[in-house]
Chain length 225, copies 2
């Protein structure tokens, strides 16, 4: 009998949250199968970040899957719509990508079922976030039920567990937990709208939430040093 770790599929964008989530998956004894979606996002540098993070965490496999959601439009992240820079507002901002997490989780499920994995990790959190509906616990719970009904593995009794370990953490805790684990956060990327010279804009929601987390955790952000 072997003691090979069980496979998990982890959705890895290359940002802070998914990097910590991947590290937590490994810590919990899983082999890391990292899935990154190239959805033709304007912040394409997160794809390089995902690659660097997968390497850093010694992923068993890393798949970057092209899926051009700009064909559908409807979001500032894929369309010719300005990324808001005025601060995190209440409500769902134009950076919302229609059904993104449902599409991405469905793809992690497809890969998980294909390789015999029953555990999926996603770095959503619903505290310091942009108000996206597909980051909320009720969405994750509903997806778990649908995943059971959608799959061969689900109907045969061995359903899937969707782990969202950061679900109830604020950004400060996320930075602290990552720092305690000595994760090299200089490899991560969060900005939605990098400058022409490849620097974070500092003003989009994603930059602001990241900055808030580092400040509250009293840690310097290595990508800004």
């Amino acid at each position: 009998m072997t003691n090979d770790p069980k496979d998990a599929v982890v959705l890895l964008s290359g940002g802070l949250d998914s990097t910590l989530t991947a590290a937590i998956a490994i810590e919990n004894g899983f082999a890391l199968n990292a899935l990154t979606i190239d959805y033709n996002q304007r912040h394409r540098c997160e794809l390089q970040a995902a690659h660097a993070v997968a390497k850093m965490l010694k992923a068993k496999q890393h798949v970057t899957l092209p899926l051009d959601l700009s064909r559908f439009g409807g979001s500032a992240l894929t369309d010719d719509i300005d990324v808001p820079k005025g601060g995190v507002d209440k409500g769902i901002p134009v950076t919302y990508v229609p059904a993104r997490n449902l599409v991405f989780l469905s793809l992690t499920l497809a890969w998980a079922e294909a390789i015999g994995a029953r555990d999926i990790f996603i770095g959503v959190n619903a505290l310091d976030y942009s108000g996206y509906p597909d980051c909320r616990p009720e969405f994750i719970a509903s997806f778990t039920q649908t995943a059971r009904l959608a799959t061969r593995a689900g109907t045969s009794g061995t359903g899937f567990t969707i782990h969202a370990p950061l679900q109830h953490w604020d950004k400060a805790r996320i930075v602290k937990e990552a720092t305690e684990r000595q994760l090299d956060l200089s490899r991560t990327w969060s900005c939605y709208d990098p400058t022409a010279s490849g620097q974070p804009c500092g003003l989009c929601d994603s930059c602001r939430l990241r900055a808030k987390g580092f400040a509250a955790a009293d840690v310097a952000d290595p990508i800004l040093i």
Copy 2:
């Protein structure tokens, strides 16, 4: 005030079922936005069929979206696994593609939300079918709930309706309904494993179910003439 028809997104594989479903959407007053997924399926000729059907039905838009599910493997339709030819068995066959309908429905949802459509059509049926779990009514019902929680449109009260008009029809009825509507079924394609000369194999589950439908409806299949 205009009387433009409301938009619907219809999942169009180019087969019998999705072609009839698209025609029913139009009949119900919807403008046809047809979505076809190029998932690197071995029966690539269905992509041409989808194109021909979209044209025949005068689709408002037809998007063929590349999404290479062969990167995940795990199915005879995308992998180097033989397509079974021995007849439709009980249980879920190796032509099952992990989580396919969940992935595809999630993509129709993404496009629907992006264009302001609230109606999605899918040609699943759970009577004369291959036993795929993601064709069953309980899956469609669960997806509807998850779609509401996953989207901006869902959380603001205007959820989505997933129409599966063929859900409880057998193949004979599907052929009859298509024939009554004078749909040119020579443009559709069902076979999973076409011969080298581009003919249907006649032996895969999809060919067998199609043949059963035509025979029971007492109609000649125009692609075999």
